[in-house]
Subunit: 140 residues, 2 copies
């Protein structure tokens, strides 16, 4: 039975389900940053996913990266599965810009998360929900 | 026409081709760290790959992550496409351990690369070549 890690629960807001994953929004105004979390018990490394789930999750990551880049007007997308601190498998999809707080460094461990305004939060959740609703696991 | 970015050329050694990619070994004794570089002109974000190439590259990443974890005796694999500094698409596959130089932080921007011994270098290249030769782009 899948249970979300308490740290991921604390750091992010649930937006929607798609492709067997939760899509969540990291609570940090500095970056439009999604987490994609396969609801699969005991998955730690990305390669722990069986080939079918792996392909599906990878395609969801691609879909979210394309859509988030457009929605956020980002100049670069960062996609990563790290998990050294929180071991439960989670994939970061982060919209980056040369003016953001960590550029050109990766976002992890830089400074302190900043609170979002209610309007910003609602907008980000709506973008994430739209990405979930437009995802279809097809090769195209 | 694909041309490798000079910084990637400088930081890593060519090991083999597989799945339309170069597999390269980062020149840093501190981590067993592979780069997977699709030989596709003008690819910057991971999602710039068309769906067919994306699936193939993703499967190569999975194959390398599984094999490198085993070969290196790693406790965690870090997989990432970042590219804020070097824009040409390159995917990091890094074998991590709690005793390594950056743990639990990501490896980027931490300290200075350390030279590998010739023996270590040859072994890492042999592991990478073996991963290339055992890759088959199939679902199973």
């Amino acid at each position: 039975m899948f249970e979300l890690h308490h740290q991921l629960e604390k750091d992010s807001l649930f937006a929607a389900n798609a492709g067997g994953c939760q899509i969540r929004v990291i609570q940090d105004a500095r970056y439009f940053w999604l987490l994609i979390i396969p609801e699969i018990e005991d998955a730690l490394d990305l390669h722990d996913l069986d080939p079918f789930s792996y392909d599906r999750v990878s395609r969801l990551v691609r879909h979210c990266s394309i859509g988030l880049k457009r929605a956020a007007g980002a100049s670069k997308m960062n996609v990563a599965a790290i998990g050294n601190v929180v071991p439960q498998l989670h994939i970061h999809v982060v919209a980056r810009n040369p003016s953001d707080a960590a550029w050109p460094q990766p976002v992890w461990g830089v400074g302190t998360p900043q609170a979002m305004s209610p309007t910003e939060q609602e907008w980000r959740l709506a973008v994430a929900r739209d990405l979930a609703s437009t995802f279809t696991d097809t090769m195209v």
